[in-house]
């Protein structure tokens, strides 16, 4: 159980002079799985490598259990990385690969064998120990890499897009295995991904990083219900933004005056709500309702997407296909957004 704290971490790459990581502060709770979410090339992997000790930050401090690890070498930190490419050692057998970390610690052979056998069983690879890595499937190789990372019982597990080379159903399987083992062994884990769904499903907390900046840090639901700004809202699929002014629990806009939930801030801003919280066909005079025209209607299977136009504002609604049965493009409808679904952005 190790709490990892990043304090004002900054990393500038010499050659490009690009600020890869810009003043990031982050606390990884002990035993929790934190996801760093962001598009590729936003500095996510750089953060991971700095925690592992493969890179050193230009500014800031990294602390495990309150003690700085910046002076510690990678092999002393007990922070194991697992990469997108599994990076198994091709000239070693699967069992030798898994036992690598223990061998480096100079454990005796019998002990290594016992630990390797145990972890191999937990990743369901007990029969493949004698094979060479290139005789395994992609999913198996990734499980070997996971076993190799976990066998030393590291304080911190650092996963760098470990699922992105796998196909869809293997990805879900591997995701669940990682979550299961991580919770079972209570290892503080940092998981880097560009896949929003992966982060939401896996993580206890998400750190959204864009261009080296930490945009927002919190549990997954916060990113949907209370995004920090338009950028964050857009990243999580937010499409509905209405300009206006928030005052004393009301938001006045050209469409209508909305009644806000209590926690919303005041001032000029932008009203937002999730497409899936939009309701169609209620009484237009009711609270938080306005009229709009249906521009397009797209059947998505489990949901139907409506693109609505109200004044000059384009809005998106995701509704139950059954409820959308009678709706047609060009129709004028009444749009209602429940009070609890509203949120105001600066």
């Amino acid at each position: 159980m190790t709490e990892v704290r990043l304090e004002h971490i900054t990393k500038i790459y010499d050659r490009s002079e690009v600020v890869a990581v810009d003043d990031v502060s982050l606390t990884l709770e002990s035993g929790a799985l934190t996801a760093i979410l962001g598009p590729s090339g936003c500095g996510k992997s750089t953060i991971l490598k700095m925690i592992a000790g493969l890179l050193s930050p230009d500014e800031g401090d990294i602390k495990f259990e309150g003690r700085s690890v910046l002076k510690m070498k990678p092999e002393q930190r007990s922070a194991v990385m697992m990469f997108q490419d599994h990076l198994l050692f091709p000239y070693m057998t699967v069992a030798e690969n898994v036992g690598f970390g223990l061998k480096m610690q100079r454990q005796d052979k019998a002990q290594i064998q016992k630990n390797v056998a145990e972890i191999m069983e937990r990743v369901q690879l007990q029969d493949l120990g004698a094979r060479k890595p290139d005789e395994l499937s992609g999913g198996q190789q990734q499980r070997v890499a996971l076993a190799r990372a976990l066998v030393t019982r590291p304080k911190v597990l650092l996963l760098d897009e470990p699922l992105s080379n796998l196909d869809a159903h293997l990805r879900v399987e591997m995701r669940e295995l990682i979550r299961h083992l991580q919770q079972d062994m209570k290892i503080t884990t940092l998981f880097v991904t560009h896949d929003q769904e992966e982060a939401v499903v896996l993580a206890d907390k998400i750190a959204l990083v864009l261009d080296g900046h930490l945009e927002q840090f919190g549990p997954p639901s916060e990113f949907f219900e209370r995004p920090k700004d338009k950028t964050v809202a857009r990243f999580f699929g937010g499409r509905n933004f209405i300009e206006g002014m928030a005052e004393e629990g009301n938001f006045s806009s050209s469409l209508t005056t909305f009644t806000l939930p209590i926690r919303c801030p005041s001032g000029a801003g932008c009203l937002t709500f999730r497409p899936e919280n939009v309701q169609i066909g209620r009484d237009p005079s009711a609270e938080n309702s306005f009229s709009a025209t249906i521009q397009t209607k797209t059947y998505l299977g489990t949901q139907t997407r409506l693109i609505l136009r109200a004044d000059e504002t384009e809005l998106e609604a995701l509704v139950n296909p059954e409820a959308a049965r009678n709706l047609e493009e060009g129709m004028e409808v009444s749009v209602h957004v429940p009070k609890r679904a509203l949120w105001v952005l600066p």
Binding site: P74, P90, G101
Partner: protein, 277 residues
């Protein structure tokens, strides 16, 4: 190219294989025949196609204590091994720098490393000799090994640069984070990955050192006598039978290396497979 295309080319390739085998025999094996014949001939004069009398006097002489051939063989081996070790110590880090990293003046360094292959050794060795005389490196084995690095090192560096161009250094980071210290990383991760290439580089270096004449002659100052030096002595003295016998000894490591290298060249290198995964 598609897989099918390669299959269709199979027949053509085997024709090329036969041709190269024939060329290999013509260039490598046939020239050795007269050498072997000379070494066992007692008299062989124009216009005879074969020797008129055979005998083992050349071989007896070569293996006798007075000839100094065995001592020369030993010295040549020590020098070639020493040069190879030195070249590996310098060539592995240099090849890594050239193969893996981008840095200012890289193109210049690449040309500088190739320079000894382009500039003949005789052009620089006299100047080096003066320096070596002053520093005590002339007329001894160490000096000869160092001067052999001039023609040998480019081969080692170029081979290792090629190896490291196909090497994924992230594997080392992975090993570090799994708890390996830098020495363990080199022994368990880097070395196995570069070993096939490193062996090739060592073979080249060994052979280049083995075949040096001018550099050994000048820097060794007659104190360090290697096989090529003896070979030239006997050849210019007209002792074709002894020249033949020493010649056979002289080409032996080349043939052994060729056989060893053929095995490694045909196989996929470990560095390559680490990259491919």
């Amino acid at each position: 190219m598609s897989g099918q295309g390669t299959f269709e080319n199979r027949k053509g390739l085997s024709g090329i294989a036969w041709l190269s085998l024939a060329l290999l025999i013509t260039w490598l094996i046939l020239p050795l025949l007269p050498l072997a014949l000379w070494s066992v001939s007692r008299s062989w004069y124009f216009p005879d196609i074969l020797p008129s009398d055979y005998g083992l006097q050349a071989w007896t002489y070569v293996f006798s204590d007075t000839a100094g051939v065995l001592k020369a063989l030993l010295q040549t081996t020590i020098i070639a091994l020493g040069t190879t070790v030195l070249a590996a110590l310098i060539g592995v880090p240099a090849g890594r720098a050239l193969g893996l990293y981008q840095f200012k003046g890289k193109a210049f360094f690449e040309i500088l490393i190739l320079a000894p292959i382009i500039v003949p050794g005789i052009a620089v060795v006299l100047g080096i000799h003066v320096v070596f005389l002053k520093t005590g490196l002339a007329n001894n084995l160490a000096g000869v090994m160092i001067v052999h690095l001039i023609p040998a090192l480019p081969y080692m560096v170029l081979v290792m640069a090629g190896v490291f161009a196909n090497y994924n250094p992230l594997a080392e980071g992975q090993a570090r984070s799994l708890g390996a210290n830098p020495a363990q990383v080199f022994w368990y991760v880097t070395l196995p990955a570069i070993l096939p290439g490193l062996l090739m580089g060592c073979f080249f270096t060994f052979l280049v050192s083995w075949s040096q004449y001018i550099l050994t002659l000048v820097i060794g100052g007659g104190r360090v006598v290697t096989l090529p030096l003896l070979l030239f002595n006997f050849a210019s003295a007209g002792r074709n039978d002894i020249t033949g016998a020493i010649g056979i000894l002289y080409v032996l490591p080349g043939i052994i290396v060729l056989l060893l290298a053929a095995r490694h060249l045909s196989g996929r290198t470990a560095a390559g497979s680490l990259r491919q995964i």
